[in-house]
Symmetry: C2
Subunit: 695 residues, 2 copies
């Protein structure tokens, strides 16, 4: 295929996505924000989220400046190409921008969704889903734009070799991952500190309902949804998307030494954008549709996109890689199927329509301890099926790509599976991102004392969002594991290009003590990381609890609704706490592979990456699914079973849900980013490790 046509196609994909995002954004903004009170609430949520992000970006900027200097110095000493520091910065910038745009539209859509829900469920869905689409297509659009921009620059302006092109492109993956980790951890700590804090004092101690305006942490809670579940998720999925594409590009070059193999993942992503846009048009129902019909409408959109890309990928593989390599198509297909299946397994273990969560709900009869034990074991047990799915997917992807004859081909196949899984991210993210918008809309409906029916409708949308989020999580976790494996392969490839002798086949044997120890340390990192982030949430939540208790005590008339709570102080508290807390985990992620590399050498790093990928995958699923199951048990009990709202059983379920909050929304998703960031850091600093390691 012609190089220029290729760049043009990728640019076209990027622009199509961004234009579609703008159209969707305009559609959202046409709706009314409702009455003055709703406008005021929405404005204060927006202000809080804005203020938080501004301060977050300031802290992150320091990190990026420091890294820029370090990479710059390395480039001066010829340990890196001079493009690397700049690529690093753009990756971080676009990742941050994805989160920022998502947050902007989400905070503009929340009151509009609440208001639209006054007229009907379907109208509410349209606003929320459009807002989700803005986010989804901004993420893929900016991702493709960054990729196309660098590809154009490095290929046509600087005329680099394919190897050097992918080398620089992996660096903007690292920039994106670093930013994503900051956003996920910072946002995750903010949202859960506010949520846990609000729940512990409001719901458990004072006995007032969720989102009650008397609760001083209620605005912080809603701000948190936007900075964590929206801005954090945006940066996170930008990173997943870009990471999977650039690692596949790099492995394509390693396997086929051709521009075509490098182009395939980018093309796949560009075509995926078109499939996703077409899919969104199928998301519509007639007025008065049931919840099941709504879910059907959403599924119709994502399924259509997935089937379309599955069909189009076949000729694409055939024409890019040639007739002799057309079986690589099945790697892409395996990735798509694996993503869907992991999502279904997630839903099985966390939805109250199935046995595990129903049984977990029953353990509430014997109190808090049994529901905690039960939830932990549901999460641990739920790791088995995804592990088997991903194992089969890896095997299939490896062997259909000719891995039996050439390992490089097989590894390229694994990376294509990840790209296949994420090719329709535009629409899957849209169905995922509309959840927090609906959640916020519910909060506003409650605070603005709208009709009971409105809250019911936003709840219906929210609960629908939980189901689609389960599918989204399947894609996020599955692609993270595959991408991490691909990045590990890229790392080995990179080390080979630096120094052939640094990593002989002997060195990678699992009986090599450096590999083994790397494995131990790598596997430990997600545990440490989860502990640090949970601690952060715990500490931050405690400070919120104390502040909320103080306000209840000191502000006269607050509980009677005669005085207004000091919402801003809680927002400020969460902001400060989360900014403080997000630094250490990120530093650990950047420094650990460097130290291990300098002591144990490149084999130790490979062991570390394998260990972190394996244990990170398990912990992420365990924590996400435990959290999801507890969340749905609480909702299930609130629907009236096992004593319903206010019963002892419900209280036990609320504790479970609170424990699950940092599990599923802070630690779990952050681990997905961690395992990729570790690889990216290793790749970027590979030359340093090869030159200076002890072993």
């Amino acid at each position: 295929m012609d190089d220029k046509l290729l760049v043009a196609l990728i640019f076209l994909g990027a622009i199509a996505a961004l234009v579609f995002a703008v159209i969707m954004a305009k559609r959202v903004l046409k709706f009314s924000e409702g009455n003055d009170l709703m406008k005021k609430i929405s404005a204060s949520i927006r202000a809080g989220a804005n203020a938080y992000l501004k301060r977050q970006y300031k802290v992150v900027a320091i990190f990026f400046a420091a890294m820029f200097v370090i990479l710059g110095v390395m480039a001066i000493f010829n340990l890196l190409t001079p493009y690397v520091p700049f690529a690093f910065i753009t990756g971080g910038f676009f990742s941050a921008l994805s989160g920022f745009v998502g947050m902007k539209i989400a905070t503009s859509a929340n009151a509009r969704t609440a208001n639209a829900c006054q007229e009907g469920l379907n109208r509410g869905l349209r606003v929320a889903f459009s807002a989700g689409s803005v986010m989804g297509f901004t993420v893929v659009g900016l991702g493709l734009l960054d990729i196309a921009f660098w590809f154009f620059l490095l290929k046509f302006v600087f005329q680099l070799s394919p190897e050097d092109i992918t080398g620089a492109m992996l660096t903007f993956g690292m920039g994106a991952s670093s930013m994503a980790l900051f956003a996920r951890v910072g946002g995750g700590v903010f949202t859960k500190a506010a949520d846990v804090g609000a729940d512990l004092v409001g719901k458990v101690e004072a006995g007032i309902p969720e989102d009650d305006p008397r609760n001083p942490a209620v605005i912080a809670d809603n701000v948190g949804d936007n900075v964590g579940d929206v801005a954090g998720m945006g940066a996170d999925l930008y990173e997943s998307y870009v990471g999977s594409i650039v690692s596949a590009c790099a492995l394509g070059v390693a396997a086929f030494h051709s521009l075509e193999a490098m182009a395939l993942p980018m093309l796949l992503a560009a075509i995926g954008v078109v499939c996703s846009i077409l899919g969104t048009f199928l998301v519509r129902t007639k007025e008065g549709a049931s919840q099941k019909q709504l879910l059907g409408a959403l599924s119709r959109g994502t399924n259509f996109s997935a089937i379309l890309i599955a069909v189009l990928a076949l000729p694409m593989v055939y024409f890019t890689l040639g007739a002799s390599n057309w079986t690589l198509y099945f790697a892409i297909f395996a990735g798509l199927v694996a993503g869907v299946l992991i999502g279904q397994s997630t839903e099985y273990f966390t939805s109250d329509s199935y046995k595990p969560t129903r049984k977990l709900a029953a353990t509430s009869e014997t109190g808090t301890a049994t529901i905690i034990i039960g939830g932990l074991s549901v999460g641990m047990l739920s790791t088995l099926i995804p592990i088997i799915i991903i194992s089969i997917c890896v095997l299939v992807a490896y062997f259909v790509s000719g891995g039996a004859a050439s390992a490089a081909n097989g590894l390229y196949g694994i990376s294509l599976a990840a790209v296949g899984m994420l090719s329709t991210l535009g629409i899957t993210l849209a169905t995922d991102a509309y959840g927090p918008v609906a959640d916020n809309a519910g909060g506003i409906a409650q605070m603005a004392s709208l009709d009971e029916k409105v809250r019911e409708r936003t709840d219906a949308l929210d609960s629908l969002g939980n189901t689609t989020a389960a599918t989204g999580k399947g894609f996020a976790i599955g692609s993270a594991a595959l991408t991490a494996l691909a990045l590990m392969a890229s790392y080995i490839d990179k080390v080979h290009t630096i120094d052939k002798s640094a990593l002989g086949i002997n060195h990678l044997s699992i009986t090599n003590p450096a590999v083994l120890i790397g494995l131990f340390i790598g596997a430990c990192l997600p545990f440490v990381f989860a502990a640090l982030t949970m601690n952060s949430v715990g500490r931050a939540a405690q400070s919120v609890v104390i502040e909320v208790r103080r306000q209840f005590k000191e502000i006269a008339g607050l509980m009677e609704g005669k005085a207004e709570a000091d919402y801003a102080s809680c927002v400020d508290l969460c902001t400060k706490a989360s900014l403080k807390e997000m630094v250490l985990p990120t530093v650990v992620a950047v420094v650990a592979p460097l130290i291990v590399g300098l002591v144990l050498g490149c084999s130790g790093v490979v062991g570390l990456l394998a260990g972190a990928t394996v244990s990170g995958f398990l912990l992420a699923i365990f924590m996400s699914n435990s959290g999801g199951a507890w969340d749905n048990v609480k909702k299930y009990i609130e629907s009236g079973v096992h004593g319903g709202k206010g019963s002892e059983n419900h209280k036990a379920a609320v504790v479970g849900d609170t424990v699950g909050d940092p599990f599923k929304d802070t630690s779990g998703p952050a681990i997905n980013i961690l395992i990729k960031l570790l690889s990216m850091v290793s790749i970027v600093f590979a030359s340093l490790v090869v030159a200076f390691s002890i072993l």
Copy 2:
């Protein structure tokens, strides 16, 4: 060294240990059991424990008979030597016997300890510690006896080659591991179901104190201590001890092809017995000693033994392996030091004298959810230091043994580190096993309404036991990881002897998809296993809760102390539940490596073993330390801080402790056995996998 002298020395070590155990048992039995009520309570605990073990052995016998037939058929088809099925049976038998003897003496010592505590703390310590010594020296005595017996038989009667000798000896390791897993899971489910059930209704709902005779589950709870913490631990540590020795023997043969290298681990163990016996004589204090002095006395004993073996090991290595290999001594030394350090790290993270547990106690101020989140993160964070310790230990052991020149030598070094760590098991187990005896004594003191002072003294002993148990756990977990690595190496070695081509160096590369997928599946197994065992505890505890609630409701005058509870029904319930629950996890452990092997081949199995070892080590530490920290937080709060007994904070801590129960006493320790059993099963069925695997 002369072969016959060697056998004689090992037999001598075994006999010394067993004779010492008998002397200690006689010393215990000389003490009085106290008044009639105490005798009656002790008798019913004894009867319950006896009845449970009898039924457990019946179930286990079916499994062993089935395995005997399977191994027999394999032997007929020449896939195994004919000694293997018999070796398998003796391993299981002696493991069971270790548990049985421990239980016998513990149930005889509990009332005696309570009675001795009437006279003074020191006297109580003497009875309890003597009982612990019986258990400790029975385990090592029977372990050495089995090893010496088979070595004698295979070497002198059947005149086999060293390779075939170690092959058969690894099989009795598998017998021991299978039995240990049944005992740990069955006993663990029993004890925690009873404990959780008793606490949930008694302490939390009815508000009566622990060990109150009005609680129908109180006898079951005390029976549980004996069948879980004593019989389960005995079988478990028998398995660890024997497993580490036989794997070191096998690797010694692989590395040096000499009887000397095979003899060293056995000799080390035999000399270790003598050092341990000498150490016990130092465990004595003057009457009226403070708790700190008591701890000092215990530490003096274990430290003396450790230093003595550290000194004696040097000439032993020098004379067995020759002057050119004396540096292998440092492998043993590294193992000893690593064991101590992991124990200290455990203590740091779980003892209320240090920051982590104190901080965790403070989280009780904000309720149950924060104490659960905090405890989980303490456990996860506590994995880091042991991982670093074990990593350094592996590196040192590998390189001082000449691993740089020959991998086989390095792996032998790692296995010697495990043997070094466990060489003084006699005394470390004695200081560990006396804890449950003291715990039971406290229960009897409470039920027999002895003086408040007696309970205080048994509590002091019990809390002392918690500290020494932390050290014991360090040795158990550390040696499990090292032994599992050694067994993995033995597996690779075994496959090489069957078919050189089945496992080339290429096949073990971490980029081989079979290895990678094995890694994923292996790492998943401890999660699944933990989930299954926690579920088992949850289910069994729920049935106890329902029964206790029923009795409180239906037995008139029970709460007023006018009627007696139906203790037997709770014991029976726990027995049935735990026997039912112990089967599935064990079957999973036996079947998983077989299936993975048949699909992915030997490389897949190696991946599985590495994955299981790494994630099992992490999960075991995480779960044990979370559980330990919660337990001590509860005790710490009961000492009067953060509101003390009966406060809301205390209630939150009780929930934490209840969640921690299956963590630290069921799932955590069972994972240690699991990771070794997986390797043993793989080794025994290696010929089957080589012959019939798909990949």
